[in-house]
């Protein structure tokens, strides 16, 4: 996907010269291998800074809420869905943004790549199908498809659903993937096995809230964990409090989560936090046929009442 870089720069330059936007939000090359840093540019001669490759997994929609300027923003499939959600939820206006849509073939999981080699990776170079990493005394190539982020592996919306410009032809959507296979497996466990699974999952949690902060949906002025009158959740690493934070955050994202993977990507201790939100995504799909962010013309099911809404769980 490095071939997108030129087109991105071209479109950005045009938008800035035309003054259709006040700034462009994109990525600049990171200072460590396999990372890029979100940045903004305001002048057409700064477009050379913008890059795009398979390490642009951060969801740029996270930077949109409450901004007042006119913004040009790069958006992959999942990002564009989050932008649609922001529009529906009134966090940004449609006419305030110019969405530079990027058909995505999946982002690479840098931690997975790092744990597949022994030794620190000093350089990572990618081409269309492979990524070659090298370090002190080793150099290995991996097939990109093997090293995708977990959410990218099961993604069914790789093309932007809303955009003003596309940087390339749409890519074919993955057809034969089951996004909820792991959720089903957990559903099949006994109650005590389920408890154990989730206790182990969050055992490393250090309550840093990186998952919450990386999530584009988490824009509450005061998060429920920061409330003190009353204090809903304790702030220590006590297991019950930690579990409460995670499942309650998942509830707040129910029907809104696009499975962009920003939470898992941000977690410093590698917790697979998507296990909480994926279950709710599956339920929304099964109960309401709803996938978040696909259109700006409909309100989400948890926002609206339809007579045929399932209610057999209410006695």
């Amino acid at each position: 996907m490095t071939e997108y870089t030129e087109k991105i720069r071209e479109i950005s330059k045009k938008l800035l010269i035309d003054k259709s936007v006040d700034l462009i939000i994109g990525f600049r090359k990171g200072t460590v291998p396999m990372m890029n840093e979100p940045c903004f540019i305001k002048h057409p001669d700064e477009v050379g800074r913008l890059v795009w490759d398979s390490h642009c997994g951060i969801n740029l929609a996270n930077y949109l809420p409450n901004r007042k300027e006119r913004i040009g923003i790069l958006a992959k499939g999942c990002d564009s869905r989050n932008i649609a959600i922001h529009i529906v939820e009134n966090k940004i206006k449609r006419n305030q943004i110019k969405i530079i849509g990027i058909p995505c073939r999946g982002m690479l999981d840098k931690r997975k790549i790092a744990s597949s080699v022994s030794g620190e990776i000093v350089e990572a170079v990618e081409d269309k199908a492979t990524v070659k990493v090298s370090g002190n005394g080793f150099s290995t190539s991996f097939d990109k498809q093997e090293m995708l982020q977990e959410n990218c592996k099961v993604c069914k919306h790789r093309n932007p659903v809303i955009y003003d410009e596309l940087v390339a032809e749409p890519v074919p959507e993955q057809q034969d993937v089951d996004p909820y296979e792991d959720v089903r497996r957990i559903e099949g466990l006994s109650d005590s096995e389920k408890r154990k699974f989730f206790e182990d999952l969050i055992s490393e949690c250090i309550r840093c809230y990186a998952c919450r902060n990386a999530c584009p949906l988490c824009y509450c002025p005061t998060c429920f964990v920061d409330e003190s009158r009353p204090q809903w959740v304790g702030k220590s690493i006590e297991p019950t409090d930690t579990l409460t934070f995670h499942f309650l955050r998942a509830y707040h994202c129910a029907g809104r989560c696009t499975d962009c993977g920003a939470c898992e990507r941000a977690c410093p201790v590698g917790i697979r936090v998507r296990q909480f939100t994926k279950k709710l995504n599956k339920d929304c799909f099964d109960l309401y046929g709803w996938e978040a962010g696909l259109t700006i013309d409909e309100r989400p099911p948890l926002d609206t009442y339809r007579p045929q809404d399932p209610n057999d769980f209410i006695k």
Binding site: T31, F40, A266
Partner: protein, 349 residues
């Protein structure tokens, strides 16, 4: 200055002896990273790592630490009186800590052991530790310890410095605490000390040469604070930050904490948890005013604290040991090396 040699064959036996003499902590491999854990019953620490993901500062400042307890039971004489919880400060040995992390403790100690204030919890925990460091032969590309006041073979803050020498470890015993631990582990002195000292010196130089990045800090002290504070580059630096707090939690020199009270039934406790200047609540006043209400304020504050305020206050270098964890863990790749360069080179008087 004594040097002991321990063959790798004899290592398991030494670990068993040590784990009987005191509580032993060492790096253990978790799924994708290493972290310091208790080593039980001769468990061998895994030294096949560059550094742990989270710093060992939790050994001295646990993430959640109960300090006081009180009872609300009116039938007891001491009801509603906060009492200190007795802490077990029995001796602990940390084996395999990197020199940068040991230096970090000394940096933080300046804050918890000043003229005016001494934090008994922090000091009690710190003084119960014996630190057996492991020198770095292969620093990370994100390490910049040599320009941050530390180094891959730095000895300050350590009681013993161990160096991997192929089929054996060389252990340079620095303090009397180190001597006690060496004795407990059954480590004997090596006869050819002079040659070994030279060998360690050579390995140190080779390691230091491998460090490819550095930070320039020479002008920080002389800069005026206000123009630096108002510099234009903060907007660009802070844009990508998501205020997630990861940097502060993995950092060995960040020490901020928050005090919380919790109760259940008739018992109440007062504990302290790690806190982060990245969080909006950090400076929220009771009135509702927040002097650091925006992301830019908070990001700027963190770097100003580490690279300017600490420099001015203690006159002993930056509040950073160059371990590089914040660089490799930051989800949006904000790089303290870049910020330090911007600050050091900024055109302010």
């Amino acid at each position: 200055m004594k040097i002991a040699t321990i063959t790798k064959d004899a290592w398991p036996n030494a670990m068993e002896k040590l784990s009987k003499a005191c509580r032993l902590y060492g790096p253990v491999k978790k799924e994708q990273f290493h972290s310091f854990e208790v080593l039980d019953n001769g468990q061998i620490p895994d030294f096949n790592f560059q550094n742990t993901r989270i710093s060992p500062k939790f050994l001295v400042q646990p993430q959640s630490e109960i300090m006081f307890q009180c009872t609300f039971d009116q039938n007891r004489e001491d009801h509603h009186i906060l009492k200190e919880i007795p802490k077990s400060d029995s001796p602990r040995t940390v084996i395999g800590i990197r020199p940068c992390d040991a230096d970090a403790f000394l940096l933080v100690k300046r804050n918890f052991n000043s003229q005016k204030y001494k934090d008994p919890f922090w000091m009690g925990a710190y003084e119960s530790l014996t630190l057996v460091g492991l020198a770095c032969h292969q620093p990370c590309t994100t390490c910049f310890c040599t320009s941050a006041g530390s180094g891959p073979f730095s000895e300050t803050g350590l009681d013993i410095l161990m160096v991997d020498d192929g089929d054996r470890y060389l252990a340079k015993i620095i303090t009397s605490k180190g001597e006690d631990i060496a004795a407990a582990a059954g480590w004997t002195e090596a006869p050819e000390e002079r040659g070994l000292l030279e060998k360690i010196g050579e390995m140190k130089e080779a390691s230091e040469k491998k460090i490819t990045t550095s930070v320039a800090t020479e002008h920080l002290k002389n800069k005026s604070t206000i123009p630096l504070y108002e510099a234009a580059f903060w907007e660009d630096v802070s844009f990508s930050c998501i205020n997630c707090g990861t940097c502060t939690y993995v950092c060995p020199t960040c020490w901020c904490f928050d005090i919380q009270d919790e109760c259940f039934g008739l018992t109440g406790i007062r504990m302290r948890n790690w806190d982060s200047c990245m969080y909006p609540l950090f400076t929220l006043h009771g009135s509702g005013h927040n002097p650091r209400g925006t992301k830019l304020h908070r990001v700027r504050q963190r770097f100003m604290h580490k690279l300017k305020y600490y420099v001015d206050k203690y006159n002993n270098g930056i509040q950073c040991v160059g371990c590089g964890r914040c660089i490799s863990q930051c989800p949006v790749n904000i790089d303290i090396r870049r910020v330090c360069e911007l600050m050091n080179a900024s055109e302010t008087p």
